[in-house]
């Protein structure tokens, strides 16, 4: 589904991503962990095309997309959420989803076509998605009026609305309560069953270890360990990255 090959990105002297390679298998839930500043968000920005790498390749569904702009990659079926929520806060909750839907008739000339039925269908579809994440009753409020947790749900639902089959979630569990966390986990598992592939950056270890089949550990922009959650938890290299080296 996703292949990252020898990817490199430096900001001045800081190598945010340092010749990193890994793969995300189709239909999997892959976790990405690492200490703060390990390059996880930069990795997401590189994969989604918000940043250009200095070296290396990004291959999505067998296609080298390294030089594709962000919107083109998104059209290939990749969507993401952001560490700091990026919703359209002065737009209605429902419209946040509506704009993301694939058959949103957004061409300029379509404004002059009689598309009432199609628009209604789209709104119904958006409503379903809001129901899935339990915020359908907030559909007609401005997104800014939602609580933090609801905004996170909205952002995930918006990513799902694009129809993407590869979803990149940047810290979906950060700053939310346990009930909501369980809701997000169930939602991810449900979507995964429907065939969606996930790459999830997360600091909440019980959450990410519980949900992922495979964990990639980044440190100083490099993948230092890849494996099942059990294997990662027992890796000296990983413990060292988080806690430092044991004194001999």
């Amino acid at each position: 589904m996703l292949k990252v090959q020898n990817l490199h990105k430096a900001f001045g002297g800081v190598k945010a991503v340092n010749h990193c390679s890994f793969t995300v298998e189709k239909g999997s839930i892959t976790g990405m962990i690492g200490p703060n500043g390990a390059g996880k968000t930069t990795m997401f920005d590189l994969i989604t095309g918000l940043m250009e790498p200095d070296e290396g390749h990004i291959i999505i569904k067998g296609k080298n997309v390294t030089s594709h702009p962000a919107h083109k990659r998104a059209k290939m079926g990749i969507a993401r959420t952001f560490q700091a929520i990026r919703i359209f806060s002065e737009m209605k909750t429902l419209d946040n989803i509506v704009v993301a839907l694939k058959d949103h008739p957004e061409k300029m000339y379509q404004a002059f076509l009689p598309l009432k039925k199609k628009q209604k269908k789209i709104e119904e579809r958006a409503m379903e998605l809001l129901k899935d994440v339990g915020i359908a009753d907030k559909a007609h409020l401005n997104a800014a009026e939602l609580s933090f947790g609801q905004q996170k749900l909205l952002e995930i639902a918006r990513a799902v609305a694009t129809g993407a089959d590869l979803l990149l979630l940047d810290e979906p569990a950060a700053g939310i309560n346990l009930t909501l966390l369980n809701q997000i986990r169930d939602y991810i598992l449900k979507l995964n069953k429907e065939g969606k592939t996930f790459l999830i950056v997360e600091h909440n270890m019980p959450f990410i270890m519980g949900i992922s089949e495979k964990i990639i550990v980044l440190d100083y922009g490099q993948e230092i360990a890849v494996g099942t959650p059990e294997k990662i938890q027992n890796s000296d290299r990983v413990i060292e990255a988080y806690l430092g080296k044991k004194k001999e």
């Binding site: 918000l50 083109k72 998104a74 059209k75 969507a79 990026r86 919703i87 359209f88 419209d95 379509q110």
Partner: protein
């Protein structure tokens, strides 16, 4: 004084101006209120529309062809300004578009063969359409209202459409919009062309209304500030706001005439008064009369 107020000619002129500035405000609002960029080049589009219209009309071109050509010429200049600038961040776009205003102004002043420079072009006719003579002030006001209404309707349909919704996502969060697969550059260019096109149409209406364009200081900073004030006073991002804004601002502007001050002070007082209103609005109610939140300028 009262005679001046009830003088129908005066009121008709006042209303025609209002209608023209409503279209200018609304077309600028597409950029400021919907995609969220501060465009300071709008008077340039207006001028290009006015001159294209005038030159074609005075060389015998059909009225509608000349009017549309003014819009198209302005639209093309919107495209040409948009391509290099719309990848910039919003405050750089403000500066670049202000540069555009200066360029158009100096072309107008210096292309003597074409524009007669600071002398301006007098004797611009008003049209006769299907045998109906629109040269009378009232008839021309009606024609202006018809054209502006059609223009506003087109803009209304577009802004309320899914296309308009995409423009709003650009204002709200460009990065999120891109990540949803929107080619935001394309939308920004389309919005710029649309905005410029209707500024050009307003230019055509304006030219025949005054039957003269040009002169030193025309299509320059004072007018730019006035159009900006229409948008801000009415409310960025509000369709009706621009129309209300034009009405409110024109009324205030004209009201100064009736203050018991010397005639020579009227001009400066008008300028000072709307500058003051603009400042007060920004402090007291930055969303404008009917507007929604503008957060773009803090980006």
């Amino acid at each position: 004084m009262l005679a001046a107020i009830v003088n129908p000619g005066y009121i008709i002129g006042f209303l025609t101006n209002m209608v023209i500035f409503a279209l200018l405000g609304l077309s600028l609002n597409i950029i400021i209120g919907y995609i969220g960029y501060l465009n300071l080049g709008h008077v340039g589009f207006w001028a290009i529309g006015a001159y294209t219209y005038t030159l074609l009309l005075m060389n015998g071109t059909n009225y509608f062809v000349a009017l549309l050509a003014g819009g198209v010429a302005a639209g093309i200049s919107g495209l040409l300004l948009g391509i290099p600038t719309l990848k910039l961040k919003s405050h750089y776009i403000a500066i670049a578009s202000l540069g555009f205003t200066y360029i158009v102004y100096s072309l107008v002043i210096n292309l003597n063969d074409l524009t007669r420079g600071p002398l301006g072009i007098p004797g611009i006719p008003r049209p006769v359409i299907f045998g109906i003579d629109f040269s009378g002030d009232l008839a021309y006001l009606i024609l202006s209202i018809i054209i502006v209404s059609i223009s506003c309707l087109i803009i209304y349909i577009l802004l309320r459409s899914p296309w308009g919704r995409i423009l709003e996502t650009i204002r709200e969060d460009e990065i999120a919009s891109k990540s949803l697969g929107k080619n935001i550059f394309k939308y920004k260019i389309q919005a710029f062309i649309l905005s410029a096109f209707f500024a050009g149409i307003a230019g055509g209406i304006f030219a025949s209304f005054h039957e003269y364009i040009g002169g030193p200081g025309a299509f320059f900073l004072p007018q730019l500030l006035f159009i900006l004030s229409v948008v801000m006073m009415g409310g960025a991002g509000s369709f009706w706001g621009s129309i209300v804004g034009a009405a409110a601002l024109m009324t205030m502007y004209e009201a100064v005439r009736f203050l018991p001050i010397e005639a020579t002070l009227v001009g400066p007082t008008q300028q000072a008064s709307f500058a003051l209103v603009l400042i007060l609005i920004m402090i007291i109610h930055p969303r404008g009369i009917m507007g929604r939140k503008i957060k773009t300028f803090q980006k």
